[in-house]
Amino acid sequence: MMRFFLTLISAATLALPVVAQERSGPLRIEITEGVIEPVPIAVAPFIAENAAAAQFASQLTQVVADDLSGTGLFRNIPQSAYISQVAGFDAEVAYADWKAINAEALIVGAVTLSSDNRLLVKFRLFDIFTGAPLGEGLQFAGDTASWRRVAHKVADQVYARITGEDGFFDSRVVYVETTGPKDARQRRLAIMDYDGANVQYLSDASSIVLAPRFSPTGDRVLFTSYETGFPQIYEIAVGAASKRALGLDTDTMTFAPRYAPDGRRVVYSEAKGGNTDLYLLDPNSGQRTRLTSAPSIETAPSFSPDGNQIVFESDRSGNQQLYVMSTGGGEPKRISFGQGRYGTPVWSPRGDFIAFTKQNAGRFHIGVMRNDGSGERLLTASFLDEGPTWAPNGRVLMFTRESAGSDGQPALFSVDVSGRNLKRVATGTAASDPAWSPLLP
């Protein structure tokens, strides 16, 4: 695992406010309310502090700008509109020139490539309207192979300072790459950066693979594979060649696994005699605890962030609805009561919402509700939207959207928890079953 070193840069020139303030305080975007008009910002071309760093400087600038504008919260002002250029990392900021082009924030960066092939990237963020730096300057160091991660870390810092929320750009997504028509689909486990870059495969396409899930530390993945002929759950270490079956009976169907927040237990579904129930497994000891014993379908379990509760779907009422139960057992409590069917619940890492798939009147929706089922909001609608996964900051959801018809293909989409900024994630092929990693260390 790549390590990054983060260094504070002492605030050099503390420029005085040179323009009249139109805001009362520093730049701040409230994400939960969504933004109608993205905030214009200037991501000045990062300065190459030596010739070897020139290409990295340009690429880093682009990724930082793409990360920020990709949220829908920011709009990058094109460099052609700039009145003044950033002469150097420590140069005084010409606030009036940036204000004249309506920039609300300015990002200044500099890149050095050391002789041992390491990148040193430093940046500063300036609030144009208050005419002051927004936080301290920071420096990141990383090897050249992980230059995109360095860019994501810079963008995460900018995002965090302006929104007051943790960022999510330095994260990965495990998903299923799909090729071929509906009736002859091939599936392959893959991992990519959150923005679709750096695709890496965890399996070949010889077996059906379903619903991969990251461990809480992002170094392992649970998934379901038909490798033995029967769907069974496996664990694989990211970057490792071999996986391990989680010690379950041959010829017994197990699926829908998910880690507990402590990473030491796995909740999953097992079908026996046509009846699907929930089980808790300690992968190290092999000890299994049955959590539900009902003739109905109990599946798609997900832990609360504190590990004390599990939300899942069950058709015990006659059709698919969401229930919450204590991890220690006990009677589940139904939380979904709207029209239609509810499935694939997943608890936000912040613990404030449960995201789900809803089917109603022939349409599929991704939605969120509070933990007690109140405040339901539908964020999307289409022929088939399914399987939301939370960004590590709990503010963005990614999901599978499949198009209708004989040529139908799945693709990954993301949407803000506010319902804004719905967009397709740039995967090279058709893709499904996304699961977001935690923020990388």
Binding site: Q186, G229, T357, G408
Partner: protein, 168 residues
């Protein structure tokens, strides 16, 4: 996936000469359930898998979100049970499938219910439980690919896939 497509065409056209050892149809296990060698045989031979697939019917269909064996299915399954009782050298893997109108894990569970309903029916007609296994493919292996009821109704199915010998 070649395996799957081949299997599907054989079933749909009810032709002889299976090219794939003794997988006699079905929805596409990833080549795992192959036992002793043997052809599908001739559809005119009542003891052949070809006859089973074409004349008795290797599949039954289900209503939306249901696993109930309806009278048409019961008639097909009576034929399957009768055939299995007369051809004891065969075992069967019962696949349960769902259409695409549903979420992945739920459809896996629903397919398991459907396969189990067929298994229980065959057992109730005298087929030894040890000759029958079940698996669910959920919505992952449709045979018809349009997005309307004409296709969905064909995809909500169970398929009884024969294997020669004690292949289970």
């Amino acid at each position: 996936m070649t395996i799957f497509k081949t299997g599907f065409l054989l079933v749909a056209l009810a032709l002889g000469a299976c090219t794939n050892a003794d997988r006699f149809g079905g929805g596409g296990a990833d080549g795992s359930f192959t036992g002793a060698n043997g052809g599908i045989g001739s559809a005119s031979d009542p003891s052949s898998p070809a006859f089973f697939n074409a004349s008795i019917g290797d599949r039954v269909l289900f209503d939306v979100d249901q696993s109930t064996i309806n009278p048409i299915s019961a008639s097909t399954l009576d034929g399957q049970a009768d055939w299995l009782l007369r051809n004891v050298e065969f075992t069967a893997l019962i696949e349960g499938h769902a259409d695409e109108q549903g979420t992945q894990a739920y459809n896996l569970a629903l397919g398991a219910r459907r396969a189990s309903a067929v298994q229980n029916y065959l057992i109730s007609k005298g087929v030894a439980p040890g000759r029958l296994k079940t698996i669910s493919y959920g919505k992952e292996r449709p045979i018809e690919i349009c997005s309307d009821e004409a296709c969905y109704s064909q995809n909500r199915r169970s398929v009884t896939v024969l294997t020669a010998g004690a292949g289970l």
